[in-house]
Symmetry: C2
Subunit: 125 residues, 2 copies
């Protein structure tokens, strides 16, 4: 594990919402463990490959990252207010996807399911 990877992981440990690479880089810039933007991107790529962090593309096309809890396949429930995230496993969905695909003669390669909404505490405001 490289210095950049350690720094990025530390930044992600901070909270568990999805953060952009630029965001992480900015946070690190002013800390004692500053890392170049390039290295942040490279570290994130490795960490995603190692399944240590999840990556989700926002609706505006930006990639965002988050330390992930399990290396099982899972989906996310993301609060648009505060960024809080719940990881959910969804065997029913996996089954449904396979079924519908077969029904149309498709062999599934991959699928994505992301849900955004407002969490309880943000809804109260």
């Amino acid at each position: 594990m490289t210095r950049a990877q350690r720094a990025v992981l530390a930044a992600l440990a901070h909270d568990d919402t999805f953060r952009s690479a630029q965001d992480i880089h900015a946070q690190l810039r002013d800390s004692d463990s500053a890392v170049g933007l390039t290295s942040v991107y490279r570290a994130l790529q490795s960490l995603v490959e190692a399944r240590v962090v999840d990556v989700v593309r926002t609706s505006s096309g930006e990639l965002t990252y988050r330390r992930c809890g399990s290396d099982e396949h899972h989906h996310h429930l993301v609060c648009t207010g505060c960024g809080a995230t719940v990881e959910v496993e969804a065997p029913a969905i996996e089954r449904w996807v396979a079924e519908v695909a077969t029904e149309h003669g498709y062999v599934v390669a991959s699928h994505t399911l992301e849900v955004t909404g407002t969490c309880r505490s943000c809804a109260e405001m």
Copy 2:
């Protein structure tokens, strides 16, 4: 409806796979109804707003467009080989999303579900 919108729609009528804006622009460039890239983007934006075309972001971040069949909320089954697309409605998924969200105290704002795989004819090759 503007000239650009008509041209883009005509290009999309050609086949019913998801195409990038650049792709559509290139196709039109050599036709008798050439349109500037800017106008292609602007036309696509309007058409998406009018729910005449669907938009899906590829895993590489590119936006792709396709004439869409219904203005009901639906999901896609996209063949990675030939781009063939099936629109599927999924009441079961909608229900599941709402349920899981409620369970975690979330109010759903939106969700995306895209499935990619190989269609029958591409699998045979």
